[in-house]
Structure formats: C-alpha cells, structure tokens
Assembly symmetry: D2
Homo-oligomer: 160 residues x 4
C-alpha cells in the first residue's frame, strides 16, 4: 500500500492537496492542461484530472507488467496476466484520450469508455493480485489498476 | 514483390469481388489470423472477424475524416465532428485489439469494450451524417461508423 | 445491413486495379478518404494509400500473431516473436495515423515515422520467418510485415 | 535543461519537492516497474525511466493541447499545431511502449522509434512555441515536447 501511495502521489500529484500552502504545487499533467483549456469544464476538475492521469499511469504500468511477465521463466503460467495487461493498457490509453478531451465533449461516449476502462482495470487487477506474492511487478500493477478503476468510477459518478 | 502483392490482396480482398466463384476467397486479415489461432474460438468466427476488421477500418476512416475536416475552410463548423472522429478512432483501435485477442479471453472486458465502441461509432456517425451532403469524407466515414457499430452489436449478441 | 455490407466490401474488397472496367470499384479505405481530402496531396496517391492501408493491416496481423503465439504450448520459445509483434503493431498504428494525415503535413516527421515503421517491420518479419514452418500465423504475419516494410520504403522514396 | 527539469518535476516529481531531504526518492511509474523486471537492463535505468515517463507525459500533453486548440475561437490559425500535436501524441505513445519493453529488446527498433519520437517532439515544440505567448496550453505543451525530445536524445546516446 505504501508503494501504491508513493506511485499514486508520483503520478497524480496528491502532494499539493496535502500541502496546499506550499509555494510549489507541481500540478499533474492533466491538471496543468485542463487549467488552460479555453472551454468550460462541466465536471469537477480534480476528479477529471485524477482520472486522466490515472489512465495514462495505468497504461504505462500494464504495458510494463506484460513485458515483465513475458520475461519470467514461468511465462506459461502468466499468459492470462499478459493478456489482461494488454487489454487494460489499450483501453486505458483510449479512455485517457477520450475523457481528457473537453471540446465538444459527448458524455454518453465518455461514460461508455469509462465503464469499459473500469472493467478492464478490475479484471486485470484481480488477475495481477493472484501473482502479487511472487511477482512485485504484478503487485504494483494491480495497485495501479485499482487506482485507475476507482478514478474512473468516481468520474462516472460525477458525470451522472 | 510477389509477397507484397499477396498481402496487398490479402488486405483488400481483391479475390472475391473479382472471382466470386473461385475456391480462393481471400479472407480478411482478421479471418486469416483467427483461422490459424492455436486456441478454440468460442464465438462465430465470421462475426468476430467482421468486427475486428470493421474496427480497424473505422479507425482508419475516422482518423482520415478528422484530418480532412481540419483541412476544410469551414473547420470551425466541424469542431464536434473532429472531436468525435478522434474518440471513435481511439476506441476502435483499442476494441479491435481487445476483441481480436483470443488467448485467455475475458468476455466481460470484451463486452464492455464493444459497448463503448458501438456508442462511439453511433455518436460519430450521427455527427458525420449531418455533414454528409457537404463533405464526401464525412459521408464515407459515417458509413464506416455504422458498419462498425453494427458489427460490434452483432458480436455483442453472439457473446451474450 | 446493406451499409454494413458495402463497408465490409470496402474494407476487404478492392479489385479495381486489376479490373478497372468493372462497375464496382471498391477502393481501399485510405484511397476513398484521400480522394475526398480538401487539400492537395503532394505525393503519389497510390503509394500513399497503399502505405496507410499496409500499416493498419500489419498492425492487425502483428496484434493477432502476438496473441496466437501467447496461446501456443511453446510460448517460451516465442517470447522474442511476441515482443517484436507488439513493437511492430504499435509503430504501425502510429505511422498509419501520421502518414495518413495530409493537412499541414510535416515531411520530416513523416519520414522519421516511416523509417521507424520499416525497421520494426523488418525486425518482426525476420523473427516471424524463423517460425513460419511451425506456425502459420507467423508465416502470414511475416508476409504482412514485408508488405508494410516495402510500402513504407516506397513512400520514403517518393517523399525524398 | 531548466525546461526539461521543470517538466520532469511536473510529471513525476511531487513527493521529492515536498520532502527533498527524505531518503524516499518517489520513483516514477517507469522506474518502479523497471526495478522489478526479471531481466537485465543493459542501459542506464535513470535515462530509460526518464524517457518512458517523458513519452507518456508528452502524449498526454499533446492530446490535451490539440483538444484545447480545437476549442479556441482562432482554431483556423491553429491547424498546424493541432496536426503536429496529434502526430507527436501518437509517436510518443508508441515509443514509450516500445522503449519501455525490456524483454528480448531490439536496439535497432528502439533507436528508430526514439529518432522518430525526438523528431516529432522537436517539430511540435517549434510550432507550439510560436503560440506560447497567446495560449498557455501551447507553452506547457512545448515544454513537455522539449523535455521528451531531450530524454529521447539522451537515451539514444546511451544506447549507442
């Protein structure tokens, strides 16, 4: 959990929330860009930025986990893990892109993407958790998937 | 060069249109690959191959339509079209990849991806159809989106 | 259904080059879209369309080959093949998108993408060819990679 | 160099800013995953992790900048910026994936991807810098592109 926290903080810039009075807030990539968007953002900006950053971070973690699994001697036992890592990475990249776009946004499409992403994250996390005791990359990846699943579900609630 | 030719024909399926009665049907990329998969495909192969090919074709059409819209003098009137083209392209690529994978497949993830893709196709088609009389690229793109939406829904029915 | 059919044939059913006098030309996705682009295409349209279609077809074949390899009993012997399939699929999708865009095109970026794609195709083809006698999916994938490599190199020559 | 540093901190550097003296360096997503990879990493791990993270961060920034440009009243003046943002985002995602994979890595493919990515970043940065005084999203995006370009070139040097 401590690792998850560290990577989550790393990824989405929780720091500022914790130390709002510090002179150097270091916002996330998504938040920096959303803050400068010419349009009106009709959803909570923190929820949105957290979700977009979590999608990219999860895509990065899942791609790396699939590759690490492929390099394990026990690759044959990790076939399902590799497969779900790949699905999750693909849906996270697509969803991070779709949800991060705010111009002429279509809430129905955003919701469908978020639901697919949350499902892929849940399935991948469940599989990675089965290997977490043997493979540290699976443990970290599962945490990243759970964080992304939660960020997607929170944004889904905010969009409703 | 003969190899290039054979795959070019494979890609675009020259055979059937030209020689519909020949015993050489020139299958699609998806069908060629699925036919050689080591595992058991637990869904109708034609529905599956049609859906995967339709996802890639729609991704290609939507990327091209967004680019063509961006090149129109009336780009400011096509902002929503560009945006939905991009969403649709991203979800089509992800869904074509997810659904096309057959090893250790997770039907719940596949269904969620297909639903997101069908929704993105429907929204993009609806917008492109509004411009179809003025922009031929929108007319063709809308057809590609409708074909992909239908292929996704047909596969969803088959997976149920 | 007729729309689905027409786009399905659009995707897989060309044949015009060989039978230009037939009443039903069915051009490729790339060619259909490029023909309707509002801008001036400053490169041979056939070379360009062939390359874009080849990139998408190769991405589809490589994704499927990686998945089929992952499903083989001898997965441990196919690790390098899976890895190169994934690289090739990723670079083909990116290159098909970059090269297919014609609005405000940057030839330096297009050339760099084509060189990366041609290299990934060459490396993947070389590896797949080593397994072509044992795995039909590797044989077909190698052909798709060689066709894409050649299409990229031909377009590179045309852009020079 | 200061630009690269600022975006690097923007992307991955929350924790350290808060507790610069702590013995807890807050590894990046890429570094966390690479640290747990079963294989031998034959290149400087910091250079590698920095490059992979920079690719994902730049993809995120470019996708957001294209969307923000599309939402500006002056969209017609930002056509080239949108186009290069899209190219850069696509090549950054592909390169982050290719370079981040360490199992059975092919240095020739990695180098070609890095060169394409560095070129796309340079072209996109140059265009975004032209709009940096008017559009804050272009200014931030240009910084992200320059940081990614530099990270790619540093890794290219390390791979040589």
């Amino acid at each position: 959990m401590s690792v998850a926290l560290s990577v989550w903080r790393l990824t989405v810039g929780v720091g500022d929330a914790q130390n709002p009075n510090e002179g150097d807030p270091m916002p996330s990539v998504a938040k920096s860009m959303l803050d400068t968007h010419p349009g009106t953002i009709d959803v909570d900006l923190e929820d949105l930025a957290r979700c977009v950053d979590a999608c990219y971070a999860c895509a990065e973690a899942c791609t790396a986990c699939a590759d690490a699994c492929l390099g394990e001697d026990a690759v044959a036992e990790l076939v399902r893990c590799i497969r779900l890592d790949q699905d999750c990475a693909d849906l996270c990249v697509a969803t991070g892109r779709v949800v991060g776009r705010r111009t002429a946004s279509d809430a129905v499409v955003a919701r469908a993407a978020l639901q697919a992403c949350a499902q892929a994250c849940a399935s991948c996390a469940e599989e990675c958790e089965r290997h977490a005791d043997h493979h540290e990359h699976c443990r970290i990846c599962a945490e990243s998937c759970r964080a992304c699943e939660q960020a997607c579900r929170q944004l889904l609630g905010a969009l409703a």
